[in-house]
């Protein structure tokens, strides 16, 4: 006979074992990335593997002093910030209008936002290359950030539309009754209320752009204007055996994500739920 408390304990041991297994599956590649970036070059290729190396910073040193990594990092920051700012500004006022104002055909529009959001980049990239080359937007950071609007803007609109829909209308109504114009009410009442949502959405839009590879690889060919993802991809194929350097680059490129992570804890689930279609 197994008593109830024993069975309960058995269940909980099993749960913890499974959780440990899950964390290993998810975490090991991350652990390995970090460890490899801290190994000296001979430890990286050693067998049996060095699980816990004596850390060296040589790859990080080289990354920032010899390669143009700092430059590419900055380029990524510039492009992603530009597209995020534009997408959030346009998306927030657009979403507000979709939720609160009477605009003809807004149902169709709301649905096209979703459609636009699900639209895969690989189907857009050929016409964008052709159009951008006519407009002189190839090798332009502004051009690339425009291309990023194709996913960032629908994303922001879609999430903010949900968000505004769930915010009670009373406060802004009261403000307008007391003489505020609609735009004033938006600026002073609605947006401050929506701040947490707007910030979370911005961070997600930024991360999607930060992680994007295809548009960036195609639309920006100039070595000095490149963003991180294609630069790192080149980097790896050009430096076949420099794994320490490549892992250091991967670690640094993952940092903004890790920082956002700490910051976003609360919103992660909502953001992914709404945004997970792409990415």
């Amino acid at each position: 006979m197994i008593s109830l408390s024993m069975r309960k304990r058995f269940t909980s041991v099993r749960t913890y074992l499974l959780v440990a297994l899950l964390l290993m599956f998810v975490g090991f590649p991350l652990y390995w990335m970090l460890m490899s970036s801290l190994k000296n070059s001979s430890d990286i290729v050693r067998l049996p593997p060095v699980w816990w190396p004596l850390p060296t910073w040589e790859h990080y040193d080289e990354l920032f002093s010899v390669t143009k990594f700092g430059r590419w990092f900055l380029n990524s920051l510039i492009v992603c910030s530009m597209s995020t700012v534009i997408a959030v500004f346009l998306g927030v006022i657009g979403a507000y209008s979709l939720v609160r104002l009477k605009v003809p055909g807004k149902e169709v529009l709301a649905r096209s936002v979703l459609l636009a959001y699900m639209f895969p980049g690989v189907l857009l990239v050929i016409p964008l290359v052709l159009v951008f080359s006519h407009l002189g937007l190839i090798n332009s950071q502004f051009g690339l950030s425009l291309a990023y609007l194709t996913f960032a803007l629908p994303f922001v609109m879609w999430v903010m539309r949900d968000f505004f829909g769930s915010v009670p209308v009373d406060l802004e109504e009261a403000a307008m009754i007391d003489g505020a114009s609609r735009l004033e009410a938006l600026r002073d009442v609605v947006i401050p209320q929506a701040y947490p949502g707007i910030i979370a959405t911005s961070i997600f839009a930024f991360l999607f752009a930060w992680n994007e590879y295809l548009f960036s690889a195609i639309l920006v060919r100039d070595h000095d204007l490149m963003t991180l993802p294609p630069a790192m991809a080149n980097f790896a194929s050009a430096m076949d055996t420099r794994w320490g350097l490549v892992m250091a680059a991967s670690t640094v490129a993952t940092l903004p994500m890790a920082m956002a992570f700490a910051f976003l804890q609360k919103y992660l689930v909502t953001g992914i739920g709404a945004g997970g279609v792409k990415g």
Binding site: F119, R182, S250, V269, V277
Partner: protein
Amino acid sequence: MTRIYDRNVAEPAEEHRASPRAVGGVGPTIIPDRWLGAAMLAPSVLVFLALLIFPLGYGIYTSFFRIDTLDLSTGGTFVGFENYLWLLGNEQFWHALKTSTMFSVVVVSLQIVLGTAVALLLNSSFKGRTLVRGLILFPYMMPVVAVVLVWLLLYNAIFGVINYLIFSVGFIPRVDSIAWLANPTSAFIGVVLVAVWKYFPFVVVIVLARLQVIPQDLYEAAKIDGAGPISRFFDITLRELRDVLLVVALLRTIFIFNNFEIVYLMTHGGPMQATLTLPILVYETALDGDRSFGRGSAIAVVMFAILMCVMTVYFRFLRKEDQK
């Protein structure tokens, strides 16, 4: 930002509250400023038109032209359906269509199974649950390029950890027995594994959210009726999850079918085209090598048609949900 109306926010005067309804004769959310609404939407609509609708139309238009780098300025020559005929007779296209389909089916099925299993695990109570729920999202948020680079290192045939582990357990005679990405079958498996690793957290999030709203009394009632844990799982949990799993499967299929980056960065479609998917074929046809924009567009248009079919199913499903 202290304005006069801020002070009155909590208790708007009664006579004021009634006025918009009296004037407009409609509910409180409808305000007469439809011009403002249009003006606020206009920039976004403009962006959609310029960056999505126009390129889409232009892509379809291009698929009827022979156009490469040299005739970028002239716009190429009109060739009618030639690109589509080329496509139908092209063995590579059919191969890529098959590979894409297989890849999507395998990756999405594994993601759904693993994602649901993990969601069930994370739905049971244990210490540190919130933290674990956050941690498993890491792969999903990580840059694709970084993910691919780490896995390339793990898969390395000579000093990769994966081979070392399999060797230690005794499944392979020598540490370097499996050249993961150089062999068609193992390369396909390798890419599938990475795609599952990176994207299964999405399924976890969605399924977990749904699990949390399953009414507990369903389980209690089933227990009283004498249903065991297995029949409870099939009769209650799976049935409750069915709709959400269907939507997730659909969304993930759309996404994986059109995903270029993971596969391309890992294998470039090789070895021997074992991982050549449609997005990679588009890339290779139009943007790499011979740069036939017309032919590449024709492939993209076919992909778009497939996408629209799946989307129609999705929207029909959503509408049915709304009616419930």
